[in-house]
Amino acid sequence: MRKVLIANRGEIARRIIRTCKSEGVATVAVYSDADRDLPFVREADEAVHIGPPPVPHSYLNVEAIIGAAKSTGADAIHPGYGLLSENEAFARRVQDEGIVFIGPSPEVIGQMGDKLTARKIMQKAGVPVVPGCEDPVETVDEAAQVAATIGYPVMLKASAGGGGIGMQICRDEESLRQAYQSLRGRAKAYFGNDAMYVEKYVERPHHIEVQIAGDQHGNVLHLLERECSIQRRHQKVLEESPSPFLDPATRELLCQSAVQAAQAVGYTGVGTVEFIVDDSKNFYFLEMNTRLQVEHPVTEEMTGLDLVSMQLAIANGESLAIGQEDVKVLRHAIELRVYAEDPVTFLPSPGTITLYQPPAMEHVRIDDGVQNGTQVTPFYDPMIAKVIISGTTREEAVERAREAMQNFQITGIKTNIPFLLEVLSDERFCEGVYTTWFVQERAAKSNN
């Protein structure tokens, strides 16, 4: 592999460029009109303009990206996260053009992208899945029947839903019957598809995921877990590793299940198996992300491994350079996502950054994609930086995280830094006792 085109933008494009540079691999950036002046465009060895700001016309424009790869002679494409990273057709097209796709096979992307197929494969492989119906329910009576079988509470979900829209918790049959009609109407209005699912609702759950890596020679290993329960609007805000909630026995079982999941689909590349874990430490498969994740630096700082380097080696056909026994917890790591958003309502806040000064501290890594004067546009994700902090203990990491956030200056746009500081001072967070309900429970408490 001599030259990698990065089909992405912002901080993740910079992150990939960094490892490529250190390994002597040339890079090609692609950019939209809106991103012309961002650091990633400058830092790549070459940069190709691919269109106007809306993603369908640039970062999702397969022809423009393939064209850029061909015109620059790139022999591999790294899709980053989001955008085309889990697009089966794109991965296949890249391969058909004789270019290496840095990620798993198109078949695996397709299988894991379909929630029902993924669920069936995992069940067959002996990985626990959340109890629920296998196919959409057609009537309210059918929904009630499924709920009675798996037991209340249940989650009623629009199959086309996402981002928290189109789902409701039902604690008894009466509320299920009420919710069914209104949710179905909403699903039709929002998504044009009113297929509904019923699944067991896990009370006060933890969102814990396991990083895995598999090579083309059948070797699979796990790189331990990340605790991702601090979320707003079902999107992660803070991740840490190791999880303060897991005990060694559960950790071992969870990580083994993730390896089983990867083996079941012949996974190649780095990926993540997401689980929901209840208060009694029962865990269930949620989904598999067939790409590098936003929160991958948590694992890197904890283990000292470079996940992008592993991706390049695997895509090159090399065997994994380490064994399971080499994966060790070197330190505790926390990632904070700095978003351009209102710290109270969490609503997006596009605008121009007039001052951007990240903290320069030991044990603090900054993965960002902006600078002074950057226009944060409404076209892309609100994340502007990730701050990854490590310490020999969790307490030390939390203390350093607080100091780092106090020293992070951004003006011109609203950011969630005040919110992150509140999380880092919250008693339950400091004790490591929190679930995915953390943000809502905090809001309810401050309203009383």
């Binding site: 981002g163 829209i165 909403r186 209005a189 929002y190 609007r233 351009a340 958003e341 309502t345 609503l347 997006p348 806040s349 596009p350 409404p378 076209f379 892309y380 994700d381 609100p382």
Partner: protein, 70 residues
């Protein structure tokens, strides 16, 4: 008469009401999208939709009036 305004800058991706529709308080009437986040805009009052000022695909700013309810 109540003017329902945008609470963030973004693109209108769905209009869930039509002129003359009766709406209830808290009912979703429009969906905005910004920075990959979908935010439903709700009616703050009970009433009849007498004006829709935004169409699917329009970019609106924080504070722009989207729908008027009487």
């Amino acid at each position: 008469m109540k003017q329902i305004a945008a609470n963030m800058a973004g693109t209108v991706i769905n209009v869930l009401v039509q002129l003359g529709d009766e709406v209830s308080e808290g009912q979703d009437i429009l969906v905005l999208e910004s920075m990959k986040m979908e935010v439903p805009i709700q009616s703050e009052v009970v009433g009849k939709v007498i004006e829709i000022k935004a169409n699917i695909g329009d970019f609106v700013n924080d504070g722009d009036v989207l729908v008027v309810v009487e």
